[in-house]
Structure formats: C-alpha cells, structure tokens
C-alpha cells in the first residue's frame, strides 16, 4: 500500500492550497465509528476535490467524504478510511436567481448559512433537518436528511433540480440542470440523494426554492391515547386542511423536552403539534377546524405557539430525533398507533424505555431507546421492532447507535430482492471501490 505521506505530498504538488492533516491527535476528531482516517484533506475548490479523488483512485486508496459531520456516523461501520475529504471550505452560494425561485450552491455550505442568505430575498430552501448550523447541504443530500415540514414540501428528492458530482475516476459529471422541470436523460439526482457518498461526491447542487411563509402558527393538542391522536392525524390529512407539519410526541419525549429545554408540554398521553403556514385569515380558519375535529377525537386541551416560542419548539423537536440510540421507522400513517403499542410491548419485554417523536403525517417515527448501553436487550428490541415495521409494509433504520451495538445489529436491515440492482450500480459507478465501503446498505 502507498505510504500516506507520499500521497499527501503528491496532493500538495497538485494543489498547494489544500489543507492536510495527519496528526494523530487531530485525526481523532474525525473518527467514524471509532475508526481513524489516515489523512484528512480539506480542499477549497471543486477542482481540487476532483484532483484528490483521481489521485486516490489511482493509488488504490479509500476515500470518505464528510460535510459538517453531524451525520457521519449514519450507516454501518466503515471498512477502511485512508483519506477523509471534508467539504466545509466549499461554501459559496454561486447563484440565487430569486425571481426564478432557484439557487445554485457549493456542497459545503451549511443549511443555516444558506437559509440566511436566501432569507434576504424572502425565500428559503424548504428542508428542515436538525443541526442546520453544522449540517452542510452536501451531507444533507447524501444522507437524505429531512424534517417535520416534509409533510408539505417533500424531501430532498423533491427540491434538487441539478447536481455536480465527482465520480470515482475524478471526472465531474452533471445531472439535471437549473430549471424546475427537466426530463433529459436519467434522473441521476434521485440516485445520488441518500446514497451516502457511495456513488460519487456531491460538490454543487441546484435547488427549487419556496417563498418564506407570510405567517406561521403551531397548535398543540393533547390526547390520552395514540389511537385518538392518530385518528385526528388521518382526519386532518384526508381533509381540506393543508398543514405544513404534523408531529406526534409521546410522554417520555415530551418530558425530556420539558426538562432539558424548558418547554412546558404535558407529560402524560400524546402531544400533537400541527403547524400551518400562510395568511392569517387562512390560518385562523384552519385553526378553528383543527380544534373542532381534535375535540371530536378526544383532545384534552390546546395551546398555540407563534414567534420565538414556536421556533424554539420546532428546534427542540428536530433535535430530539437524535438520541444516542435512535431508530427511524417508516410505516403507513394508519399503522402508527398500533406501532406505538408494539414499541411499548417490546420495551416492556426487554426492560427498555422508548421516547418517540414522529412526523405523524408521513408515518415516520424516531424512536429513542434507552438505556443506550443495554446492548443485548437493544439488539433484541431492534430485531423485534424491525419485524413489526416490515409487517406494516415499512422499514426500520438504526440512525444512531454506539459502536458496540452497531457491531451486533444491522443498521439498514437485510437488503431486499432489488439489492442486486444496487450492487450493479455501485459496480458501474465505483468499480475500484474508491469510496469507502461498509457504511451503506448491504455493505456498499
């Protein structure tokens, strides 16, 4: 194998401005699931990224891309990391064509920095995953991160209109473009989103944008049981109402939020948070109707949030999807209530506790299991919960967990019959396995 110092030297020859780190102390800050890279490189142009990848490929080394690092531990344990490439210096907003409601960015810009710039023209990128200050757009796309407002706006796949991606060869390829409607060629944007850097490195992205809402309000409803809360959700979704987010918070999650963040949520039963955006008159009417149908379904009390209290509430909710052991489960909306019962049963059997926050309108649950060090019981609980998810036509992904647990459980679940098609894609895109293996589904 090539000495990493030799490799570092050749990078410096090609691109003297690339920042390099091979000091063990510093490398420790870049560990992924306890595994240290041998070299960290921080390029400051997309051309440098391409050169570094080409060189890595030629030398037969393994490269992992990292943005802000907020989700670097997502996925299975990496096999080997020779080069960790960090994109955080690629932070330019290349274009914001405000009248077209589109923008073009470099992948290393953080979501918060982008939103701040877009807001000066009254617009935003309608993605609201956690960690906006740290998470880069490249990382958000590669890990397909999303947040509560996906109910209204969809996820990354619905807003990316173009990407530039460094291929394993070091070539730069474009997919899509900068217009909002485009069917020329294969829709590779969809393929790269959520592929966790296994097919290429996203270096630039074009997005469809949204106008900032004129106003916004959140209603908190409390229910004694999950069935009533979810019946309310189903009724809302099947009605004329157009909520932007519908979040379900169980008692334990509510209690955490109250303890740590000073929110005053009821700590028994279930809290349903329903967010509406738009003009005041439209929100007023939707609030009346929401309250009235919630009452019919046994809602106990309701409160509403605006302004800073509202912003803080949603920040806390978003952050709460990231416990030390957190599973993301996607099931049908009609199955959420019964799935919540399953969670209780599984936890009781395995002497665990669960705190659940759910994008209830999308059927996506974030389940924090604790204590996080009860490894054998956690393994069993995850196995059972995954089985129940599959019975409900859904899937379970272990989004966050300590490395001991990761060694004993499958993060993504067993690959399905379509996996051989994914393997073939990986083989075509990265025949030499230049991009670190082990993290994505089936070890890709």
């Amino acid at each position: 194998m090539v000495e990493i110092e030799t490799f570092a030297t050749s990078i410096q020859q090609y691109a003297p401005t690339v920042q390099l780190t091979s000091e063990p102390d510093e490398l420790r800050n870049y560990a992924v699931d306890g595994l240290l890279p041998r070299l960290v490189v921080i390029p400051d142009s997309v051309e440098q990224v391409a050169q570094i990848v080409a060189l890595t490929n030629q030398q037969g080394l393994k490269l992992l891309t990292r943005g802000g690092g907020s989700r670097i531990n997502l996925g299975g344990i990496p096999e080997q990391i020779d080069v960790l490439l960090e994109t955080t210096k690629l932070t330019r907003l290349l274009e914001h064509e405000a009248p077209d409601l589109t923008c073009h960015v470099e992948a290393g810009i953080t979501l918060a920095a982008l939103q701040a710039q877009l807001a000066t023209k009254g617009q935003w990128l309608a993605l609201d995953p956690p960690d906006a200050e740290q998470a880069t757009l490249g990382g958000i796309l590669a890990s397909n991160a999303s947040g509560p407002k996906r109910l209204r706006y969809g996820s990354a796949r619905d807003m990316v209109i173009g990407l530039r991606v460094v291929q394993a060869s070091g070539d730069i390829a474009r997919s899509g473009g900068r217009v909002v409607k485009n069917v020329a060629g294969y829709d590779l944007n969809k393929l790269y989103i959520g592929s966790l850097g296994t097919l290429g490195i996203i270096i630039e992205a074009n997005f469809k944008l949204q106008p900032l809402p004129i106003s916004e309000r959140t209603f908190l409803l409390t229910f004694l049981n999950a069935a009533d809360a979810m019946q309310t959700v189903i009724t809302i979704l099947g009605s004329l109402l157009t909520p932007s987010a519908v979040e379900l918070i169980d008692a334990r999650a509510a209690s955490d939020m109250s303890d740590f963040f000073g929110l005053n949520l009821p700590t028994n039963g279930y809290t349903l948070a329903v967010n509406f955006e738009g003009s005041a008159v439209a929100i007023d009417r939707q609030s009346d109707e929401t309250r009235s149908l919630a009452r019919k379904n046994g809602a106990l009390l309701s409160d509403d949030l605006t302004g800073e209290a509202q912003d803080q509430f949603w920040d806390v909710v978003r952050e709460h999807t990231q416990g030390s052991v957190t599973c993301k489960v996607a099931v049908l909306v009609s199955q959420v209530a019964s799935y919540l019962q399953r969670i209780e049963q599984v936890c009781r059997r395995n002497e665990l506790e669960a705190a659940v926050v759910a994008h209830a309108g999308n059927g996506i649950l974030y389940i924090e299991l604790r204590p996080g060090d009860a490894t054998p019981r956690l393994v069993e609980a995850i196995r059972e919960l995954r089985l129940y998810a599959q019975e409900a036509r859904g899937r379970l992904v272990v989004e966050r967990c300590p490395i001991d647990l990761k060694r004993l459980t499958s993060v993504w679940g067993e690959p399905g019959p379509d996996f051989y098609l994914m393997q073939r894609l990986k083989q075509q895109f990265d025949p030499d396995s230049t991009f670190v293996k082990g993290r994505f589904m089936g070890g890709l």
Binding site: Q167, V179, V183, D187, L191, S334, D418, L421
Partner: protein, 488 residues
C-alpha cells in the same frame, strides 16, 4: 451536431430485423403463452403500432397484449432467448418516439393491464397497473373527494405506465410536481425476467432510490408492471382566470412577476395569437382572436387562500397592461377555458396538415427573450409557429406548422427545432421538460450534457439493460439513425 447534419448510418445496427422463420417461431411461442387473440403480427394489425405522437415511425414484428405480470415475464424471457428487442407501449401518445420500436421486435401493449388494484384513502395511496388511463384514476377517486395530480394534456388517453416511463408533467405540476413526485414504488420486470419491487408504500426506503431513477427512464431500464402512487384531496376552491394581453412581452413579464412575488398558482398556461385562433375555431372557449397572448391561470386550495391569490394575480396582470382578466363564473365555464387549452394540439390540426412540437425549458425570467428568439428562428426558416405552454414552469411548447408535401419542409422544421433547443440550452435551460428524449432529441442531449455526463448515464443502462434488450437505441446520441422519417 444537428440531426440533419448526421452522416449516413455506418455502424452495425444493435439488432437485425427478425427473419421470417424466427418471427414465426417467436409468434408461435407467444401465442402458446397468451392465446392467439393477444398476439398481433400481420402488417394490417401492426400498422397501428408503428407510430406515436412524435415524428418518427418504425414497424414492430409482433405486438403482444399481456394480462398479468407473469405474462410480461414470460414475454421478456422469450425475447431474451431469441435476442429480440422489447418496447413497452401505453397509449402511444408520447411525443418523443419512446414507444417506437426502432429495430422492430416485440411491442408490449398494456391495454389489458389497465386496472386499479387498490385504493387506500386512510394512507392516500393507490396501486395501479401500467395500462390504466391517467384520467380514469382521478375519475375513480373524485366521488370520494380525491384525485391523482399529474395531468398531461393527453390524460384522457395516456396511461400511467407511460407517464412513469416519461416522467410526464402537465399544467398542474407547477406547485405539485411531476410524475416522479407522486410515485412511491414500482413493480418491475428486468431484462433477465425477474420481478422486483422497488420503493414501496412508505417513505425513505433504505438503499438507492431506484424508483426515482426508473421514473423517466423511457423504457430503457425495465418494464413497469405496477405503480404505487400518492393521491390527494380535491381542493376546496378553484378559481380559473383568463388574462388577455396585447403583447407577448407583457404576458411573459406577468408570469415572471407572479412567480417572483411568491404567489405560486396551481397552473399558469400561455397561448399566443396563432394558437388562440386555432383553439377558438375548434372549441369556442371565448378567447379573443386579436390578442397577442392569453394567460390561463388557476389558483386552488382553501377558499380564503384562493381569494387572496386571485387578488394578487389580477393586480399583477393589470400592472402589466392586461386588456382584461376574466374569472370563470362556474365549473362549466372553467371546463370550457381548460378544454381550449387541452385541445390546443388537436385544434392546430385544423389549420395545418402537420405540426412539430418542441418541449424546451428555460428559467422563467428568460421567457420574454426566448419567445422572441423562437419567433425569429421560425421566421428565418419561413415557418409558422404557435406557442401553447406551461409558462409557470418555463416549459415551452412551440408548435411549428408544416406540410411534408412541400419539398425540404421537414428538414427546415428539424433545423428550426434544433435551433430553438440551442437557444433554450444557452439560456440555462434544458431540451425537454416532460416529453422525454426518445428518438427525437437524442442528438440534442449533447447541447446540455458533455461526454462525461453522458458516460455516467450510460453506466446506468449498462447496469440494468446491458444488451439493450429493452427499448434499444434511444435516449443517447447515436452514431446513426435507423428509424424512418415519418411520411405523412
């Protein structure tokens, strides 16, 4: 390089035409499988399947009408064994030649696989077969208060399988997105004859987003046999407006300002003078005959929100010197406004023996410039052009009128079409917004993608359909063209 400047085909075709003996054997095997009724192979029967709504044509050797996924698997296996290409076909309304069997072979027509398999109102999902006519799904959902959003103008005949293959759009995709934004999962048949489920009923299926990759792959990667779609509640209120303008610039500036103002209506369609005259003669929708352009706009949602949107849209129209803005008084009038738009292509048939429609997209702010250039280009070739298009998306549909009886006219049309797409590409746009590349725009792919971009896309085809058993010779620039030019 323009399609008109291509050297004559010099490369070996991907597939040889079937010999009579081989064809007889394939027909026999297919007839054993499906019954003789569902296997068509006489010239008379095949004629219907040699064209779609594009300009190219080529005759298949056999057309089969399967009833089940298992039938499709068996057909694919027969085709693979005999090394005969397979081309899936919905209703044949495609505008880019996606369903044209360039090398002959087997066309799978999905007319019998046209059922709605499941509707789940609690979870807002429907599962349908590929041959289901787009509008039939919404018709089935409407009584319960729901519908399926993507609404191509051909929705009365086009199929959801074809929509998935082409990633079809339509007037109402402005806020709601195109087909890919409404499909969660597929059942597919691969070139090896495997039945595979991709995506599913729920969101964020782990692994690569194969559903997203396959939607819009134009039949070149797999054959779709089942589609899981999202359905949504019908809006409470719908207001349809028609604004009349004396100049194209005023109309296009209105579109730009509406989008820029943050009001995103459900649809903004533009029709120019030539189209208006054709449409009026055909539909009598009440459009003015002397206007330079008309915008057909729709706001929908909650009553209160719609009322506000309408006010804002009307005031922007007035600011840009709209001669009048009319709001449909009732559903009948609304349908009349829309029938004019949706029948526009057909209406143009009344004033010209033939027309050629382009599908470029440009940033919305560039509409005034690009529309002017479209007019200039067509004038320079001595061709008449009408524009009827999804202005809110920047998705142009210039209809170039022609008569193929006039010597050289077809070539001039192709050249003009190519130049229009060059302008779209230079303006930062794309060559197709919803019709697909197919045969028609293979060479124009090079206007927006370089060699590396195209090579990466070809890797995908290599992974899925390496022998090009499915829909060969499409989508990518080709060294030679083999389909005959449509002779009308």
């Amino acid at each position: 390089m323009s399609i008109t400047e291509l050297p004559p085909p010099v490369t070996t075709p991907l597939f040889e035409r079937m010999t009579a003996a081989k064809k007889a054997e394939v027909v026999r095997e297919l007839s054993d499988l499906l019954g003789a009724r569902y296997v068509l192979y006489t010239p008379y029967d095949l004629m219907l399947y040699e064209y779609d709504a594009s300009i190219d044509r080529s005759t298949p050797d056999v057309v089969v009408l399967p009833a089940t996924t298992e039938d499709v698997v068996a057909i694919v296996k027969i085709a693979a064994r005999h090394h005969v290409p397979v081309v899936p076909r919905g209703a044949g309304t495609g505008l880019s030649g996606g369903a044209i069997p360039i090398y002959g072979g087997i066309v799978i027509a999905f007319a019998r696989m046209n059922r709605i398999l499941e509707i789940d109102y609690d979870n807002l999902r429907a599962v349908v077969q590929p041959g289901l006519v787009n509008l039939h799904l919404s018709n089935a959902l409407n009584p319960q208060g729901y519908y399926y959003v993507p609404d191509p103008s051909s929705q009365r005949s086009c199929t959801i399988g074809g929509n998935a293959g082409e990633n079809a759009g339509g007037p109402h995709t402005l806020i709601y997105g195109v087909t890919t934004n409404h499909v969660l999962g597929l059942e597919i048949v691969t070139p090896e004859g495997n039945v595979v489920q991709v995506g599913g009923w729920t969101y964020d299926t782990p692994g690569y987003d194969l559903t997203g990759l396959l939607i819009g792959s134009e039949g070149t990667l797999c054959i779709v046999t089942k589609i899981i779609v999202r359905i949504v509640h019908l809006p409470e209120a719908v207001k349809t407006m028609v604004a009349v303008f004396d100049t194209m610039d005023d109309a296009s500036n209105t579109v730009s300002e509406i989008i820029a103002s943050g009001v995103i209506p459900a649809a903004i369609e533009m029709m120019d003078e030539m189209i208006l005259q054709a449409v009026e003669a055909d539909t009598h929708a009440g459009y003015p005959l002397d206007a330079a352009a008309v915008l057909l706009m729709e706001a929908e949602g909650l009553r209160e929100a719609v009322a506000e949107q309408v006010d804002k849209i009307v005031s922007i129209c007035n600011k840009h010197h709209a001669r009048s803005v009319r709001i449909a008084a009732n559903e009948t009038e609304r349908q009349l406004f829309w029938s004019g738009r949706k029948n526009a292509f057909g209406a143009v048939g009344r004033i010209s023996p033939e027309f050629y429609v382009q599908d470029g997209v440009v940033p919305r702010t560039r509409l005034p410039y690009v529309l002017r250039r479209v007019g200039e280009i067509c004038a320079s070739y001595g061709l008449k052009v009408g524009n009827v298009f999804h202005a809110g998306d920047g998705n142009l549909h210039p209809l170039i009128l022609f008569d193929s009886q006039i010597p050289g006219e077809v070539e001039r049309v192709r050249k003009a079409g190519h130049e229009i797409l060059e302008v779209c590409a230079e303006a930062g746009g794309t060559i197709t917004g919803e019709h697909g590349v197919g045969i028609e725009k293979q060479e124009e792919m090079a206007l927006i993608f370089n060699e590396v971009d195209l090579r990466v896309m070809q890797q995908v085809r290599e992974a899925w359909n390496p022998r090009q058993l499915f829909n060969p010779g499409k989508l990518f620039p080709m060294p030679g063209r083999c389909a005959e030019i449509k002779q009308l």
